[in-house]
């Protein structure tokens, strides 16, 4: 089995190395062939692994591959943990990645950086697999940083655009804040356990929960709360939770396949995965769970609002991603880890689909992204339209679609958690996720109606050239549409209400909301019927109806509303002033402090006195010593004799 796992990880790495280092040698076709073969191999093997778990023939694997370093008694190992949670993530990552690889052939067709692009996305797949298959914090951190690096490289893929460079710098900096918390969280755990191995840390979880940390004298904190909140700060950076969400909308500067793969389906869900993986720790701190649920709920609702005022087709989908990540986080905070991870999976399929569909539209429109210049594209792009419609229905949670099962289970779980009052903020979260359903439906169908229906608002030249995308683009759309529609039917039972995840997720007895709900679950069919007795479905339908009314029936209304609610719209268009605050207070303040240290500390003291001073000294010494090498044998022999005499003298005097 170990060989299989290794192949899954290494195949994309090898492919990335080939496409990246020998890109010019193997050419465009060679580059995409080798990377698709690599990722395809990983995908097939991952499906095999998942099948093993489904059939019950496989058992979780947890073992080291090799010891990288031993220092001070700490074993830094490279190891694998493959259980049900990992297997699911592996399939999602490799499948979406494979689809995106194929799609890229069409999307990046004319780009001069073709091979580089393929190399990066294969490298990303490798990094993501390292992240999810790790059995220790060190390797997790490696994967965490590696996906961040590739994300940085890909946001700035078109490195001649200043906006792209600004966006990737922003993503990098914001993620540093999150990663700093993450690293501190790992350090707290390491401080109390002395190990980096998951299993060993989990075994000592009760001990950590009994310890306390003192920051300011008299102010003690539970160690587990501190560790979990810090870890979650890392997740907030990577999974773009308020207030560390600011980088994700800007990351849309990258090519669309990347938005689908990294900034929607996989990398941004790493935070969700990490918290689920750490469930044995989070379960021991209700304070941390409370923090998680409040942050998640705020993200889920307030980022959804932003989707309503944006006109860039990709940014609307990006805000929708933020909002959905908030949903997953809420589930984690309610201890419904299985529901959160389940939503992660369904979201990966339909959100990748929506992004790729948006990319298909952008291609057809010659890289026009403003929805105000679209409309009526349905008849020009039939396949894109239908797949996008299916994806949107899944996103809003239309009964029977995959998103319905995950979102409804999630909302039910939060509802129960709020009723039980198991964590503070669950009531607020329930309100946010419910209201979010309406908002989601509203902005999703605003996108569908503005893009595919109504008046054709593009210019004449663009209209003449409108045509459906080539098969390499439409086939991934169709292949992603299939799981987006149907996967909920046969996975909701075992994954959310069954015991499929086994020991990979841990829920405390008192928090087991999904366990309590499972008594009421009688198959997916009755689940759909049951949903009609709750408010979520009606809210979603109301959202669609409102979108229809505002954007198709009375397209003059939105403009009037804008004028009426101009104050609110301004807040939304400025994205709640987060960017303003970051740029004018945080960045400007840091720059001012930096300037003081730069001018005073660095230029004068360190550079002037220490660095240049010591460099001059070394340079001078070097020049002097060089002259000792005269080239004359007699001098050399003399030096030897002097050396010998010194040694003899030393021993005689000393001894």
């Amino acid at each position: 089995m170990q060989a299989t796992y290794l192949t899954i990880i290494l195949a994309p790495l090898v492919a990335a190395a080939l496409a990246g280092l020998a890109g010019r040698l193997i050419g465009r076709i060679g580059a995409h062939t080798v990377t698709i073969l690599g990722v395809g191999l990983s995908c097939v093997l991952s499906v095999g692994v998942l099948k093993g778990f489904v059939d019950g023939t496989a058992t979780p694997f947890n073992g080291p591959l090799y010891t990288w370093l031993v220092t001070d008694g700490v074993h830094m190992q490279i190891g694998l943990l493959v259980d049900q949670l990992t297997a699911m993530m592996m399939v999602v990552v490799t499948f979406v990645s494979l689809m995106v690889h194929i799609y890229t052939i069409g999307y990046m067709h004319e780009d001069p950086g073709y091979q580089r692009f393929f190399s990066y996305i294969s490298l990303f797949t490798f990094s993501m697999l390292m992240l999810v298959m790790s059995n220790n914090f060190l390797q997790l951190f490696f994967g965490w940083e590696a996906v961040g690096l590739v994300s940085y490289l890909l946001i700035g893929f078109w490195y001649t655009r200043p906006t792209a460079i600004f966006a990737n710098m922003k993503a990098f900096l914001v993620n540093r804040v999150g990663d700093f918390g993450f690293l501190l969280g790992i350090a707290v755990l390491f401080h109390f356990t002395g190990t980096l191995d998951y299993a060993e840390v989990f075994a000592k979880a009760d001990y950590i929960a009994g310890q306390s940390v003192q920051f300011v004298s008299g102010e003690t904190w539970n160690a587990m709360t501190v560790a979990c909140i810090l870890l979650f700060v890392g997740a907030m950076g990577k999974s773009a939770q308020v207030p560390l969400h600011v980088w994700l909308p800007d990351s849309m500067e990258g090519p669309t396949p990347i938005s689908a793969l990294i900034h929607a389906a996989t990398m941004v869900t790493a935070g969700i995965f990490m918290v689920a993986r750490m469930s044995p720790l989070f379960e021991l701190s209700t304070t941390a769970l409370s923090f998680v649920i409040v942050i998640g709920a705020t993200t889920a609702l307030f980022m959804g609002f932003l989707g309503l005022v944006n006109n860039d087709i990709k940014r609307v989908v990006a805000y929708s991603t933020l909002s959905q990540l908030g949903y997953m986080t809420v589930a984690l905070g309610a201890s419904a880890y299985a529901a959160g991870v389940f939503h992660l999976m369904t979201h990966a399929f339909f959100k990748a689909l929506l992004f790729l569909a948006a990319g298909s539209v952008i291609m057809a429109m010659h890289h026009e992204q403003d929805m105000r210049n679209m409309g009526g594209l349905r008849k020009y792009l039939p396949i894109t339209y239908w797949t996008c419609l299916l994806g949107s229905l899944a996103l809003i949670g239309f009964p029977g679609f995959s998103g319905f099962f995950s979102k409804d289970a999630l909302i039910e779980a939060v509802h129960l958690a709020a009723e039980k009052g198991q964590v503070a903020g669950a009531g607020y979260a329930y309100f946010c996720v419910l209201a979010g359903v309406f908002i989601t439906a509203l902005y999703s169908f605003r996108l569908v109606f503005m893009t595919f229906h109504g008046q054709e608002r593009m210019d004449e030249h663009t209209r003449e050239h409108l045509h459906e995308s080539p098969w390499v683009v439409t086939v991934p759309l169709v292949l992603l549409a299939i799981p987006s529609v149907v996967i909920g039917w046969f996975t909701v039972g075992p994954m959310v209400f069954g015991h499929w995840f086994g020991g990979s997720l841990h829920v405390a007895e008192a928090h087991d909301v999904l366990g309590e709900l499972s008594g009421e679950f009688h198959g997916p069919g009755s689940f759909v019927v049951h949903a009609f007795s709750g408010p979520a479905v009606y809210l979603a339908l109301a959202g669609v109806a409102t979108a229809w009314f505002l954007f198709l029936k009375r397209p003059d209304l939105p403009a009037a509303l804008r004028v009426k609610l101009s104050g609110l719209v301004r807040v939304l268009e400025n994205k709640y002033y987060f960017d303003w605050f970051n740029e004018h207070v945080l960045a400007a303040g840091a720059k001012a402090i930096g300037r003081i240290f730069w001018k005073g500390g660095d230029e004068m003291l360190i550079d002037g006195a220490l660095v240049n001073g010591s460099a001059r000294t070394v340079g001078w010494l070097s020049g002097v010593a060089r002259h000792l090498q005269s080239g004359l044998v007699s001098h050399y022999a003399f030096a030897m004799i002097i050396g010998l005499s010194a040694l003899v003298a030393y021993t005689l005097l000393h001894g």
Binding site: V618, S622, A637, M640, G643, L647
Partner: protein, 484 residues
């Protein structure tokens, strides 16, 4: 004392094989025409493969001493011999194009190279001061010949002359030290010497002659290592010799130097470790500081690498001077990895050189990244590793040595080592800067090198990365062979 039967010679089977190979090559070369020199070369490589096989095959399970106490076979010897054979094979492979372009690919060259190797192997197995001295001389005399091999070249002849004169002084010093030691302990046999010294030390006697002899022996050892202040020959010889010879001198004999220090200082003179410890501290600090500082102002890459070697020798001595198993392990690891890095960096010069052009100035590497990105990256890895940047193997070599020094409680020495390597990073990174950020010289032609050369050089450079990422097995091997 005198070996009684032929079976006693089984312990020296690798050396006997190598000697046989050398003779066959010498004879073969006589009967082969000038145009078919490739066959001699091939025979040499095959002979090396055979010797490597015999070395591994005949390696005894336990430490064995035979031939009347002249010869020892143990795990350390096997490791050093095997590494030396492999390095020599790689060195010859790198040298081939260079030699044939200059008309130096003659049978004698190969035979001399084999004799250098023979000397190294004898030193690795010497368990008596006599056999050790014999090994040193076999190696040194062949090396003098090799440095002067390009007869037409006056610089080469001059540096060979210097090498010879200084080498003779060092040999004399060493021999004088050995004779004093013999006078005190009454034996050449290192085991007997050790036992004798233990008695001396036990009875509290600090024989003044003994310390005298020790100082002389240290001079001999330091000269072989090229430690400051017995290093003056190194830059001149490295610079003057044909690059293929520099490559050989920069790699294989370092293994012999370690063997010399291990057999004589650690094993034979172990009881005097307190005395030689202090001497080595001085030599090591001087080597690290002077080697790194002087390297900065060099414009010739071979000279720069010569000073770099001197600084690395400081690190190897750092491991040895702790006089405990951890330090010896680190020193052996350092030596093995250093040889790999040295082979790659000199190999790179050979790759860039061509007929009538030596490529040994730093500016010859300008813009290599544009001419050959692949080899520029390879050179980058080698330089990073030599500078001691993780995750390359050179980092771990330094780490283990410094760790050993720290565990021995010498914090200031560790600090000196770290500061010296910071200074050293400058000139390694300068090469990287020149390769990647400077424009190539006009009319810089494409890189030469046979496919085999390019492949082995790439593998050699990648090993620097690979052994760093997977550093466990090699250090485990070193721990295993050094007795605790």
């Amino acid at each position: 004392m005198i070996p009684t039967s032929l079976a006693d010679f089984a312990i020296a089977a690798p050396e006997v094989t190598l000697l046989g190979v050398a003779c066959v090559v010498l004879l073969l070369d006589l009967f082969i025409g000038e145009s078919r020199r490739g066959w001699t070369f091939l025979a040499t490589l095959l002979g090396l493969a055979l010797t490597a096989f015999v070395t591994l095959y005949c390696a005894p399970a336990d430490r064995t001493v035979a031939l009347g106490g002249l010869y020892v076979a143990d795990a350390v010897a096997t490791v050093i011999k095997f590494a030396a054979i492999a390095t020599m094979a790689v060195v010859l492979l790198y040298s081939r194009d260079y030699l044939s372009a200059r008309g130096l690919l003659q049978g004698e060259y190969l035979v001399l190279a084999l004799f250098v190797l023979l000397g190294v192997m004898v030193m690795a197995s010497a368990s008596s001061l006599l056999s050790m001295y014999m090994g040193i001389e076999i190696m040194a005399l062949s090396a003098y010949g090799l440095v002067a091999f390009d007869r037409e070249n006056p610089i080469a002849a001059e540096s060979a002359m210097k090498y010879f004169v200084l080498g003779a002084i060092a040999s004399g010093t060493l021999l004088y030290g050995i004779s004093i030691l013999y006078g005190v302990t009454g034996s050449f046999d290192l085991n007997a010497v050790q036992a004798g010294l233990e008695r001396e030390v036990f009875f509290g006697g600090r024989h003044i002659g003994l310390l005298f002899g020790l100082a002389f022996i240290i001079v001999g050892v330091a000269f072989k290592f090229g430690a400051v202040p017995f290093h003056m020959w190194v830059p001149d010889v490295y610079h003057g010799a044909p690059t293929s010879v520099t490559l050989m001198l920069g790699s294989v004999p370092k293994l012999a130097s370690f063997a010399l220090a291990w057999r004589v200082l650690a094993e034979g003179l172990g009881p005097l470790s307190h005395e030689w410890h202090d001497m080595l501290v001085v030599l090591s600090v001087l080597s690290m500081v002077i080697g790194n500082i002087v390297a900065i102002s060099q414009t010739n890459l071979k000279r720069m690498l010569a000073y770099s070697t001197i600084s690395h020798v400081g690190f190897i001595l750092l491991g040895i001077l702790t006089a405990n198993a951890e330090g010896y392990t680190a020193a052996l690891y350092y030596t093995l990895t250093y040889v790999i890095m040295a082979a790659a960096s000199f190999g790179m010069i050979l790759l860039l050189s061509r007929q009538g052009f030596e490529a040994d100035r730093i500016e010859d590497f300008k813009g290599l990244a544009q001419r050959s990105p692949w080899f520029a990256w390879m050179m980058l890895m080698v330089m990073m590793s030599t500078a001691g940047v993780p995750p390359f193997v050179g980092f771990f070599a330094k780490l283990y040595v410094i760790q050993a020094v720290l565990n021995a409680g010498m914090v200031w020495l560790a600090l000196v080592a770290v500061l010296a390597s910071v200074v050293g990073a400058y000139y390694y990174l300068r090469i990287v800067k020149v390769m990647f950020f400077d424009a190539p010289a006009e009319r810089a032609p494409a890189l030469g090198g046979s496919p085999a050369f390019r492949m082995v050089l790439s593998a050699n450079s990648l090993a620097v990365l690979g052994l760093g990422v997977v550093n466990g097995p090699l250090i485990a091997l070193c721990q295993q062979v050094i007795p605790h």
